[in-house]
Symmetry: C2
Subunit: 195 residues, 2 copies
């Protein structure tokens, strides 16, 4: 098995976490993202939309982190990273999708000034990013009441959020974590294991 990734892209980290949780051996190939390798004909044969992660397992080539996570879950069901009952599986999947659809764009908007000098830290898009991150954590905070993890046991929902949430203290978002103590405890648990 081969995972194509680059440290500048956060989505492959979801796959790296799941591989480690399941103890699946996988060769990790760093794609030269700054050098434009995602647009090379060789890489576009793996993913025509030019994004990492891509997982190769023999002749099977899969892009989209959520599709890869579901594949790993089916290929190696133990330890389980999805609940057993359909209702909680649905909630886990909803959260997996929320993290990419709503948290990720806000997180990128907040970080944009670090990568694009034309975007000032007080740009309205950056402030909107901060606002959307705050309201997203407002949604997560009550879900963590009485739960160490988002849907009870540790699941792919946590795996999908962790690469974003665990950066908050490092990228100037300590204020948001301060206002969401359960999210902070959950972020710590995602990083280091349960207390």
């Amino acid at each position: 098995m081969k995972l194509y990734w680059h440290p500048f892209s956060v989505f492959p980290r979801r796959v790296q976490i799941a591989l480690r949780e399941k103890g699946i051996a996988c060769e990790e190939v760093v794609v030269d993202l700054p050098g434009g390798a995602l647009r090379s004909p060789e890489f576009l044969r793996r993913n025509p939309f030019g994004q990492v992660p891509v997982l190769e397992d023999g002749a099977t080539v899969i892009s989209e982190s959520i599709a890869i996570l579901e594949y790993l879950e089916e290929r190696q069901p133990s330890p389980a990273l999805l609940p057993r009952d359909p209702e909680r599986r649905a909630l886990a999947r909803q959260l997996m999708l929320w993290s990419g659809d709503y948290l990720a764009p806000a997180w990128k908007a907040w970080l944009a000034p670090r990568f694009d000098p034309a975007i000032a830290p007080n740009d309205p898009t950056v402030q909107q990013g901060h606002h959307n991150l705050t309201t997203h954590l407002d949604v997560l905070e009550p879900r963590l009441e009485g739960n160490d993890y988002l849907v009870g046991d540790y699941s792919l929902a946590d795996v999908c959020y962790a690469p974003f949430i665990t950066t908050f203290d490092l990228i100037g978002l300590t204020d948001i974590l301060d206002r969401h103590p359960r999210v902070r405890a959950w972020s710590n648990a995602c990083r280091t294991g349960p207390p």
Copy 2:
């Protein structure tokens, strides 16, 4: 079971297709989208991100069309809308995600002038939308060689693309279908059943 939807939103149609394919009885509730009901406190309790579709099944409330489709597949596995082997399931899921991540934004960009008079039909974003729709169909066309449907048998991959692809002739995109004859035949099959 209750499905919250509105005809102006294309994502709920995926769920409506799956419900009909599986013969699942479901009450359909039209949310007053033009009247702002997606931002009402009542609806935000169902989906804090204010989007349709939302499926209610007893106490279970699920948003995100892909999470809903997976739930319906698990709740009523027959007729199956995902392949049986993990490799083809992964490809189906990859395509489900591609349709939302890449085709949907291009489709919306192309349609934007119809909903926003400030956007001219020759606006660069509209032309980029047309370009991205074309290159997306360039990706799908070879996958339909020798297949009536995207991963062989009819699946959730087709269900996710159908609400977008079947509109092309109605929204001025006949030129793109003309250049992708297999996509055109597949779109017709999604609308009317296999030839």
